[in-house]
Symmetry: C2
Subunit: 357 residues, 2 copies
């Protein structure tokens, strides 16, 4: 067959990673199963229960409801759909901080809800006062992000949950990327810390499961009733997921890697990643770059258009924030050696640029 | 790790199947790639182009637009979304035959469009006259099914495309299951036969690719403009898919299995499946069951509640139509030996039931 998969040794932009060996093994074994048809594929349906129970432990819920989704986009769309379908208002709106992932723009288009985007504080976190000013009696959902895509920041979730309560809205936390690292920090971000209703937490990001394994978790299973459609030709009677057929590989790999890594393996992974982020942030700061302090293992740094282009040309898979900062996401596959070689390339390409100017 | 995947030797209900060996190999190799981020994962993005070109050959399009989706549900939702977003009406409706998959109910809820469900002919196909009576100036989409979920029937696609044209709507064909078998029949079902705009055709069903590999194909790439959202932190600027992160395993396996099997491998697979369906239909008819003639490799047969329950208890994964007929979907994994053993169990369980009454 033609084509080779991307090697991971120069991928600094992705929020996905190489699956953990136990995740890969489980994905390969369950490749031909469909948890969307649980009466036919019973063993993978049981693994999905295990995976959701595992997510519950991580997010502070004894009796979590939820399912393994295709990814964070589906989970975010579904959280908005739950809020929309339960709203009394016929013109519901959703209030998000400007740092919210673009999947909320997609959700707004798909679900025909108004998206209200509130500005951030100077530290790129949700400004609760601004969020409050965007809320009104039609607000169905208040969203906080625990581990933002661009800067790895954590919004003040307890305050946002209080705000949601005050205005009679649901509260959703997008911890798609942050969920598997935040348990090892002092942040208050989950169901045990605040009156959160739904959460996105993706095993296939920092959980090191195989794609596709996103996660949508809810405090109360009754929230999913707003989504259920009848499934006439399946032996199961209702389906609350957005997709129909789903990947057993993703589900099995999520269950396997959580059983293997929670909590100690994930703690070690977090410490390594955070150490790497601080190392590369220091290395770049020493070279005069105005680095944004990495609160979680994600470094954002303003670079020239020219340096960015040269790095891409040199084979580095890097991407930028909306305002042009280069992002280095310190996923598990990003080792100190890779970062060493990245910094060396920055030095080399800067030197070349200086000679040329 | 706990749990074993479902064995396929008693699965008669699924519209998915064991992946072809080349599909499995490609899926395992590309497990850690994300075609939703094409600037990072370039090689799998190229494979997606190959997969869409392959689908184009199958559906009679020289220059197809499209993408590999999580499955037929996503593809159907996206087709409805295209039509809704392009509609002039603020209260668009979608006209489907009663045989349409339940994903259209899901699409209607998600997208807030009105679904109008037209009754069928006596042969369980779309009744074009009835469909026409359901259309009006707010109709944004007319849907036909090429290979229905319950009876494996093919709607009169050219007439439905004409109807869509007449009322100024788009025409979508759901060939999720049928698309990889219809090329070897006399049916008129695709872009080459009729003025179809969009089509669902799933490599992970009769295409024998690994889950998740659904397909959405359009005559005109411009149709996808109605779906595009900005993607600030990715190097690619727009994203028209419903999900964000996507499975490289599904994409790579779809490209690999189509390169291997189209057309001869798929023709042989169709002939074997159709032969098996006719064989089991005859075997059940000989035993006095009122079997529905299998036009495609799917047999529907009315059975007693008791026999159905006994078959499930004996380990058969079978499911029913909305009006209670047992369905036997003759997927590639369903061999003559399996069907032999199924018919023997029907005999045995019927005999037991007769003794007990």
């Amino acid at each position: 067959m033609r084509g080779q998969p991307q090697e991971f040794d120069r991928v600094l932009s992705s929020m996905c990673t190489e699956p953990h060996p136990v995740a890969r093994e489980a994905a390969e074994r369950f490749l031909a199963t469909n948890p969307g048809d649980p009466a036919t594929y019973q063993s993978v349906a049981e693994l999905e229960d295990e995976a959701i129970a595992g997510l519950g432990e991580i997010v502070g819920l004894d009796d979590p409801a939820g399912y393994i989704a295709s990814g964070g986009t589906e989970a975010n769309i579904q959280a908005v759909r739950i809020a929309r379908n339960r709203a009394v208002s016929s013109t519901p709106n959703v209030v998000v901080p400007e740092s919210a992932h673009f999947s909320f723009q997609k959700a707004a288009d798909v679900l025909s809800v108004e998206l209200r985007v509130a500005p951030l504080t100077d530290d790129w976190t949700a400004d609760v006062g601004a969020m409050r000013r965007f809320c009104d009696e039609d607000t169905a959902l208040v969203v906080g992000v625990a581990g933002t895509t661009e800067y790895g920041r954590v919004d003040p979730i307890p305050e946002l949950a209080d705000l949601a309560n005050d205005v009679g809205a649901l509260c959703h936390v997008d911890a798609a990327w942050g969920g598997f690292i935040l348990p090892f920090t002092d942040h208050e971000w989950h169901f045990g810390h605040a009156d959160v209703d739904t959460m996105t937490i993706d095993p296939h990001k920092m959980g090191a499961a195989a794609i596709p394994a996103g996660g949508l978790v809810a405090r109360d299973g009754e929230l999913f009733d707003a989504l259920a459609v009848d499934t006439p030709y399946l032996e199961s009677a209702k389906q609350a997921t957005l997709t129909g057929t789903r990947s057993g590989a993703g589900v099995a790999s999520a269950a396997a890697v959580m059983a293997e890594c929670w909590p100690d393996g994930y703690r070690e992974q977090y410490e390594r990643a955070q150490g790497n982020a601080e190392w590369v942030a220091d290395a770049l700061a020493e070279r005069g770059f105005d680095v944004v302090e990495p609160e979680l293992p994600l470094v954002a740094v303003p670079v020239s258009e020219e340096l960015f282009a040269s790095l891409r040309e040199a084979g580095w898979r890097v991407s930028r924030t909306a305002d042009g900062k280069l992002r280095v996401v310190c996923m598990p596959h990003v080792t100190r050696e890779i970062l060493d070689s990245f910094v060396a390339d920055v030095d080399r390409l800067q030197a070349t640029a200086n000679i040329n100017t």
